[in-house]
Symmetry: C2
Amino acid sequence: MARKDKVRRPRAETPKGFRDYFGAEVTQRKAMLDAIAHVYHLYGFEALESSAVETVEALGKFLPDVDRPNAGVFAFREAGPEETEADGDWLALRYDLTAPLARVYAQHRNDLPTPYRRYAMGPVWRNEKPGPGRFRQFYQCDADTVGTASVAADAEICAMLADTLEAVGIERGDYVVRVNNRKVLNGVMEVAGLSGDDKEAERGIVLRAIDKLDRLGVEGVRALLGKGRKDESGDFTEGAGLDEAQADAVMAFMDARRDTGAATCGRLRDIVTDSATGLEGVSELEQIASLLEAQGYGPDRIVIDPSVVRGLGYYTGPVYEADLTFEITDEKGGPRQFGSVAGGGRYDDLVTRFTGQAVPATGVSIGVDRLLAALIAKGRVDRTAVGPVVVTVMDRDRMADYQSICATLRQAGIRAEVYLGNPKNFGNQLKYADRRGSPAAVIQGTDEAARGVVQVKDLILGARLAQDATLDEWKENPSQTEVALDDLVPFLRKLLG
Amino acid sequence: MARKDKVRRPRAETPKGFRDYFGAEVTQRKAMLDAIAHVYHLYGFEALESSAVETVEALGKFLPDVDRPNAGVFAFREAGPEETEADGDWLALRYDLTAPLARVYAQHRNDLPTPYRRYAMGPVWRNEKPGPGRFRQFYQCDADTVGTASVAADAEICAMLADTLEAVGIERGDYVVRVNNRKVLNGVMEVAGLSGDDKEAERGIVLRAIDKLDRLGVEGVRALLGKGRKDESGDFTEGAGLDEAQADAVMAFMDARRDTGAATCGRLRDIVTDSATGLEGVSELEQIASLLEAQGYGPDRIVIDPSVVRGLGYYTGPVYEADLTFEITDEKGGPRQFGSVAGGGRYDDLVTRFTGQAVPATGVSIGVDRLLAALIAKGRVDRTAVGPVVVTVMDRDRMADYQSICATLRQAGIRAEVYLGNPKNFGNQLKYADRRGSPAAVIQGTDEAARGVVQVKDLILGARLAQDATLDEWKENPSQTEVALDDLVPFLRKLLG
């Protein structure tokens, strides 16, 4: 194909797993993030934008997908003081917004209020194998409260999460915030005899099994708690090796959800009654439930749900997750619940890494792309992004006049642009206007200029007529109107609705 | 200091040359960028957010600071298909928003309108030696028109730049957009006998000399055009080695600015009369000047100014720069003009790298940090960021009530939060409210709760009284008021003004 003496040109491609976002993709996401930031701000959270680059040692190893062998960060070595590579620190792109927050709080704690409520939104990077719909740069949107052990902080974030979902356009009834507590989970492990340091692998298997309840059902989870499970493809997943009684305890825990938070907590208390940690966890859940109930966040919005696990190893107390409960059509054409769009929990040890002092913290992360996809699925995003009015060029020498028409429109708040391509072929100008999604084209030849008028082509009506119109309608050409230049602004305002 | 057996803790530090942005620093910048995006959008520009990571080959070597030996990108090698490092592409963080635009346009040109007007805003990264006020991650904010050779596109961007500066709060008279043309400059080089391929070094010295006119004055530039120049510290900068006649031509060019664009262009025409390229450049400047004048952008806003060079090597036609003309106090306490906050020009070859086809383009980049600093210097940024109303905790068991008070305030659009630290010491709660910049603290003990009232402490008035008040004023305690819970929203609305 390519001749050997051909110039070697760079490939015009994003690196694998990266993508570009155009026009409405950018502005729709921005509008959603602005709405979220408004709620966070009302709750007293302050904006923070930390650097995208961190030292590898500051980031630590807290990547969520511990299952995936290729999970990692994009890292590079800083040139050292002598500018020999060997001397430098290892730097990396942040993989989430929580690890940087821990670093920021440790670094600036004397200048920050305690507790410190902060929100952050921006891209994070994962050096993972890209896949369909799986990107290596994506947005996160977090809110955290650092420096308080009070579960009122956890309750507050759950309430804020519910408010946030409603603010961006998820209606009540279409979401639920589910709350659990790692301490209860640890209590269950204790009761099931899985609390020793030597049982970490088993605990991991149990956690992941609970997390898969939705997908595998009770039988599948039970198999994973015991000897293991063969899936449809014949692949075998090793089990935790629990005996009947141990598995019963775990299954009872997952099945502990009742109609009210109080009833669920009562059931949990029975299950972990022999574990101090477990009882502490239940008591925290009770406090959260009663705080939320007193503020009117009933089980239609926030529920205590023992099946919530959250993958991250660093959670130490309450964990929470926001699920969208409406159905969408999955890849196979069947209905399925939209599922999780946000999650978080209490992590009391991340700042301690730096300072040695206990700094309790809790926070939530919203999956920006997933939430935006949900809003689009629900028709909650304004997708009728209106292109600019296009002023066509009939006479190359009168470019200044066309620009002036645009200036007048813009001053009236109407988005407008002059066609800046080669004006020779007028059809191309209209095709361009089409491609831009223009609602109207403004046309002014020498004759119209002399009379102080313009022709306005209603491109939306035009497109409709092109599909539906009878011959008589076409002849009337109702989509084109002569308008006095002085009347152009009010005419277009009306046309734009 | 540190004991040998001490746990090795990670340092809580940003990498050198990186920094964090807190609260108002984030929201002030965001407000400015929103105002800029609004103008760009009105002009028909579409948002684009390209990936932060590009292949090194796509980025190319167009870094602006060619003088600096350490200038560079943050690059890292991708794991190859076999996951051996050796196989992978070299990737890098983008160092500006123009190189990615060229890649995006080349990659997606069949799906994009032509001309393609796009804006982009976001961080870029430079692997440079950090210095005071010089960071390795900073924001840029660009607007470009790709796919048209018409200088109407250049004129449009200059007009938009003027509108943008006024939209963010720079008053007319406090800025000027200066326009020049590289073709005129090339014509001057030709006339001065510096047009051959073997004269690239000399041309570079001449360009940099012209760029330093503000700083070095006529004599200094003249020295750099000739044998060279010794600065105050005794350091010698080599000159371009021009003879008298050659240097005269360059100096005449720099001195060509007249009162009107037309007069300046007339003078330039005389100087480059023997260069076809130069004459073409003058003719383009004339078109730009007349387009802008016809639209009412007089020399109080946009001027033709031959001393504008713009450092980047890739410019091929019109170049432009926005300078803020008001004075600020420099490091030595003397007055100096604020200077450049934006610049750009026409670059017709960046897309050609990828496609081999000519794709003319022109665009501007705003220095976000500098423009924000200017707005702050001019008092154009709302710096009275109001902290939240703080609801104090008098009774730990009534946390739900305090949260409910907050919820009521938020529903009324009033920013509010409950104190979530240890409530034992009430003084600490008020200190916290102070640190948060709270306008008011709400206090409700058991007695107030029983009577359905709260105490509101006006912290702004309180702070003023603490400085000025007489003893009698203090005794009256006018900064604290008892308010019925039902009246709290209107009371706070009034207090917040």
